[in-house]
C-alpha cells in the first residue's frame, strides 16, 4: 500500500484559515437577526436589510482571502 500523495497549493490552506473569521462573523450577524426577529417580529424586514449590508461587509474579508489565494498561488515551493 502506497502512501496517499496529496498535491496542490498551500495557498488553498491559507484561504481555509482566512475563511474562519468571516464565517464566524456572518454567523453572528444572522444570529442577531434571528434573536431580534424573535423578540420583535414586526422589525424583521428592517433587520434583514441591515443584516445584508453587514453580511456584504463581513463577507468581503473571505473574498479578499480567495483573491489573495490566487495572487500567491505557486510562489512558494
Amino acid at each position: 500500500m502506497t502512501a496517499l500523495e496529496i498535491t496542490g497549493d498551500i495557498a488553498v490552506l491559507g484561504y481555509g484559515l482566512a475563511a474562519i473569521g468571516p464565517g464566524v462573523g456572518v454567523g453572528l450577524i444572522f444570529a442577531a437577526v434571528i434573536n431580534g426577529t424573535a423578540r420583535q417580529p414586526e422589525a424583521q424586514s428592517k433587520l434583514q436589510s441591515i443584516a445584508w449590508i453587514g453580511f456584504g461587509v463581513t463577507e468581503v474579508l473571505a473574498i479578499i482571502g480567495i483573491a489573495l489565494a490566487f495572487v500567491f498561488k505557486g510562489t512558494g515551493a
Binding site: 436589510s49 445584508w52 449590508i53 456584504g56 461587509v57 473574498i63 483573491a67
Partner: protein, 260 residues
C-alpha cells in the same frame, strides 16, 4: 472546455475564464460582451414593454415591471438615501441593479452559463462608476473641503484622536470602498463558477475516465451536488446584485447626509 484525450484530470482554474473571440478577427467581441449586450437588450425590452401601455389596472408585464422598480425605489433607494432626495438616484440604482442581476443570473441560464462579472474589468467599471457618483454628489453638495471634512472627521470624536481618525476614515471611505465593491462582486461570481466547474468536470471525469464502477458512483453523487450548488449560486447571484446596489445607495446616502 477540457480536451477529452488526456486521461489526467485538469482542475479548472483561471484559465477556464479565457474566452476566445466569437468571430475570428473581431478581438473584442467575446462571450462576456455578448452576455452584457443581451442583458441590456432584455432590460430595455422589459421596461419599455412594461411602461409602454401604462394603465391604472396594470397588465402582467406592467405589474412585473412595477414590482421590480418599486423594490429598488422603496427598499433600496429610499431606505438608504432618505426620503428627501432619493428620487434623483433611482434611475441609476435601478439600471445598475437589473444590469448586475441579469449578468449574474446569466451564469445559471442554460446555454449561456457565464457570469459577465467573473472578468474583473467589468466589476472595476461598475464600482468606479458608483465611486465617481457618490464622491461627485458629495462634493457638489458640500464643496471639496467640506466633503472631505464630512467623510474623514466623524462628529463627536475628540480633537486629539483626529490624527489617527483622518487617515483611517480617508482610507476606508474613499480608497477601499471601490476596491471592496468590485472585488466582492468579481470574486463571488468567479468562485461560484469555479465551484460549479469543479463539481461538474470532476463528476464527468469520475464517471467517464476513471474506469472504476465505485468511483463512477461517487461521480453521480458529485453531479447531484453540482445541481444543489447551482441552486445556491442562483441565490448568491441575486444577493450580490442586491448588496452591490444597497452599498452604492448607502455610500450616496452617507456622502450627502447632513451632520447631526
Amino acid at each position: 472546455m477540457i480536451a477529452g484525450v488526456s486521461t489526467e484530470f485538469i482542475p479548472p482554474g483561471p484559465q477556464s475564464f479565457e474566452t476566445p473571440p466569437i468571430f475570428s478577427g473581431v478581438e473584442w467581441f467575446t462571450k462576456p460582451v455578448l452576455v452584457a449586450t443581451l442583458s441590456v437588450i432584455v432590460i430595455i425590452w422589459f421596461f419599455y414593454g412594461a411602461s409602454r401601455k401604462a394603465a391604472v389596472v396594470p397588465g402582467k408585464l406592467q405589474f412585473a415591471g412595477e414590482l421590480g422598480y418599486n423594490f429598488v425605489r422603496n427598499s433600496i433607494a429610499r431606505d438608504a438615501i432618505g426620503s428627501k432626495d432619493y428620487m434623483k438616484y433611482v434611475p441609476y440604482l435601478c439600471g445598475l441593479f437589473f444590469f448586475i442581476l441579469l449578468n449574474n443570473v446569466a451564469a445559471t441560464i442554460p446555454l449561456i452559463q457565464f457570469p459577465t462579472f467573473s472578468h474583473i474589468g467589468w466589476a472595476y467599471v461598475a464600482a468606479i462608476m458608483s465611486w465617481v457618483i457618490y464622491n461627485a454628489v458629495g462634493i457638489k453638495k458640500k464643496g471639496l473641503w467640506g466633503y472631505f471634512k464630512h467623510q474623514t472627521m466623524p462628529a463627536g470624536v475628540p480633537l486629539w484622536l483626529m490624527p489617527l481618525m483622518i487617515p483611517i476614515e480617508f482610507i476606508s471611505n474613499i480608497l477601499v470602498r471601490p476596491i471592496s465593491l468590485s472585488l466582492r462582486l468579481f470574486a463571488n461570481m468567479f468562485a461560484g463558477h469555479i465551484l460549479l466547474l469543479v463539481f461538474v468536470l470532476g463528476g464527468e471525469y469520475m464517471i467517464l475516465h476513471s474506469g472504476s464502477i465505485a468511483i463512477g458512483g461517487v461521480g453521480i453523487v458529485t453531479l447531484l451536488m453540482a445541481l444543489a450548488i447551482a441552486g445556491l449560486e442562483l441565490f448568491v447571484q441575486c444577493i450580490q446584485a442586491y448588496i452591490f446596489v444597497v452599498l452604492t445607495a448607502q455610500y450616496i446616502g452617507s456622502a450627502i447626509a447632513d451632520e447631526h
